[in-house]
Amino acid sequence: MKVKVGSLFLLSLCAVIAYLTYNTYGNWSFAFALRGRRLLAFGLVAIASSFSTFTLQTMTQNRYLTPGILGLDQLYVLIQTVSFFFVGGIQLLSQETTTMFLLSILATALLGSLLIGFFYQNKGHHLFLLLMAGMICGTMFSSYSTFLQVLMDPNEYDMLQGRLFASFNHIHTQHLLWAAGIILLGSLCLVFLIPELNVLHLGSRQSVSLGIPVPFVHRLLLFLIALLTGTASALVGPTVFLGFVVVTITYQVIPTFRHGWLFLGGTLIAFLLLVFGQFFVEQVFGWTITVNTVIQFLGGLFFISKLILERKKG
C-alpha cells in the first residue's frame, strides 16, 4: 500500500513538473503564475471531492452516491440567483466579491445544515430519507433558479452566468486563498474523524454498539461534506462524477477500509486525473473542450458501465 501511494505521489510530482514546464516558450514567470494558480485549484478540488465522496459513501454504506445528491450545488446556484434577482447584479458585482463569495458559501453550508437537521432528526435517523429529500430539494432549487433567471433582466442574467459558470478554465482565482483555508479546515476535521469513519464502515448499528454517538457524528460529517462541496463548486463549478470516479478507482488500487490511506490515495488520484485532463485540453485539444466536459462525459460512461457490470455480477 505504501509503495502504491508513494508511486502515486511521484506520478503527481512528475505531472506537476510536466504541466508547469511544457511549452512555456521561455515565458516562465507568466506560465508559473497562471498554471500554478490552476494547480492549486486542482489540489483543492481533489481534496474536497475525494474527502467528501469517501465520507458520504462510508456513512451510507453505498458505493454509488456522490455529494451531488444532497443538492448543495443547486442550493449555491439558487442563493446566487436570488441575491442577483433581489439586490441587482451591478450592486453585487461592485461589492467586495470575496465577502460575497464567503457569504454564499456560508449560506450554502448553513442552509444545507438546517435542511439536514430538519430531515435528519433524532427520531429514527433515517439517513436515506435525508438523501431522498436532498435529491428532491436539489431539483426544486434548480427549478426556482431557472424560474427567477427567466424573469431576470437579460443584462443581469448575463452577469449572473459569468458568476455561476465557474470552471477549470475560468477559476475564480481571487477567492483561491479563502477557498484553500475553508477546504483545508474542513478536510482537517475529517482527518481528525478518521477512526470514527473507519468504524462507520460496519454500519450505524454496529457503530452505536462500539460507542460512537452516531446521530451527532452523522450530522457533523454531513455539515463538513456540505462545506467542502459548496466551496469546491463555488471555485470550479459542479464536478458531479469526479468524486465517484476517484473513489471507485481508489478502492481498486488500494483495497482498504482505512480512511487515512483512502483520503491520501483518493486525493492524489483526483489530482492526477485533473492535471492530465487539463494538460490534454490545453496542449492536445487546444482548448476546444473543457476539463469539466471531459469529467462529466468520461465519468458518466464510467458510472453506467460500473452499474451494468455490477448487475451482471449480481
Binding site: 454504506q61 458505493r63 433524532n122 427520531k123 429514527g124 478518521i194 477512526p195 473507519n198 468504524v199 464502515h201 460496519l202 454500519g203 448499528r205 454496529q206 452505536v208 454498539s209 462500539l210 460507542g211 460512537i212 454517538p213 478502492y251 483495497p255 482498504t256 477500509f257
Partner: protein
C-alpha cells in the same frame, strides 16, 4: 443485571413492544424465544441502545441506559446484529480489531494486539487471521463476529439470531462457545433463538415473547413445558426427554 420497566416501543402506530417488565439475571445464558414478529429482535435492540425510541426505562446495573456515555456502555455491553454485510476489504484480524475501538479509538497498542489474537484463538480461527472476510464460510464469519464482540471485553453480550445460516455442527459449536463464556468468564449472554431445542439444551434462563409482550420468563425448567410452548407457538408441542434435557417436537 438488566431491568426493564414498563417498556414500550412502536413502529409508526404499530406497537412492537407493549408494557415489557423484565429482569434478566447476571452470569447466565439467556434465550429470547417466540414466534416471528413477537418483538424479540426489537427488544434486543432496545436493550443494547442501538434502537433509542422508546418509553419506559431500561436499567443496566441499576443505571438508566440513557445515563451511560456511549464509550462507557461500549465497554460494558456488546451487541451483534442479525446480518452483516461489509462492502470493503477487511481481513479477519482487522474486523476483530474494531472490537477494541471503545478502548483505543483505532490506535492499537501491544496489549490490544494480544487481546485480539486471543479472541481469534478462542473462536478457533487463528489460522485464518490474514484471510479476507469475503473468503470465509457463513459459520466462520459468524465466529469472526463473535471474536469481535469478545475483543470488546464486555460483561454483557447481546446476539441477534447468531445461529441464522449455520448448519447443525457450527450452530452447536457456537452454542458451546457461548456456554463456556458464561461458565468460565461469568459473562451474561442474551441471545435471540428460533430453534427452541437449542434454548432447551443450552439456556439457563428463557424469556418467552408473544405479540410484543413477555408471556413468561423464568428458568429453562419453568419455560420448557408442553402447555406453555404450545400456547406460545399456537401449535401442539410434545416434549421428549433426551439425556437430561428435552427435545421439543411439534406436530399438527
Amino acid at each position: 443485571m438488566i431491568e426493564t420497566v414498563n417498556l414500550h416501543q412502536s413502529y409508526g402506530k404499530t406497537p412492537i413492544i407493549k408494557a415489557c417488565d423484565l429482569t434478566l439475571p447476571e452470569g447466565q445464558l439467556i434465550a429470547l424465544i417466540g414466534p416471528n414478529g413477537a418483538g424479540k429482535s426489537t427488544l434486543l435492540s432496545l436493550l443494547s441502545r442501538v434502537l433509542n425510541e422508546r418509553t419506559g426505562a431500561i436499567y443496566l446495573d441499576g443505571r438508566e441506559l440513557k445515563q451511560w456515555s456511549g464509550k462507557e456502555l461500549a465497554r460494558k455491553l456488546a451487541y451483534l446484529q442479525q446480518s452483516n454485510q461489509y462492502g470493503v476489504h477487511l481481513t479477519v484480524e482487522e474486523l476483530v480489531a474494531f472490537g477494541r475501538y471503545p478502548y483505543n479509538r483505532g490506535r492499537q497498542t501491544v496489549a490490544d494486539e494480544q487481546i485480539i489474537a486471543s479472541a481469534i484463538h478462542k473462536v478457533g480461527l487463528a489460522d485464518f487471521k490474514e484471510r479476507s472476510i469475503h473468503a470465509l464460510s457463513g459459520g466462520q464469519l459468524q465466529r469472526v463476529y463473535l471474536a469481535m464482540v469478545l475483543a470488546q471485553e464486555t460483561d454483557y453480550i447481546l446476539l441477534d439470531e447468531p445461529l441464522n445460516n449455520l448448519d447443525l455442527k457450527h450452530a452447536t459449536q457456537l452454542m458451546n462457545h457461548l456456554t463456556e463464556l458464561v461458565q468460565s468468564e461469568k459473562k451474561t449472554v442474551v441471545i435471540v433463538l428460533h430453534d427452541i431445542n437449542y434454548a432447551a439444551r443450552y439456556a439457563d434462563y428463557i424469556v418467552a415473547m408473544k405479540d410484543g409482550q413477555v408471556l413468561r420468563a423464568g428458568s429453562t425448567k419453568e419455560i420448557i413445558q408442553e402447555s406453555l410452548l404450545s400456547e406460545l407457538y399456537e401449535l401442539p408441542i410434545k416434549l421428549v426427554p433426551v439425556e437430561g434435557s428435552y427435545f421439543c417436537y411439534p406436530f399438527t
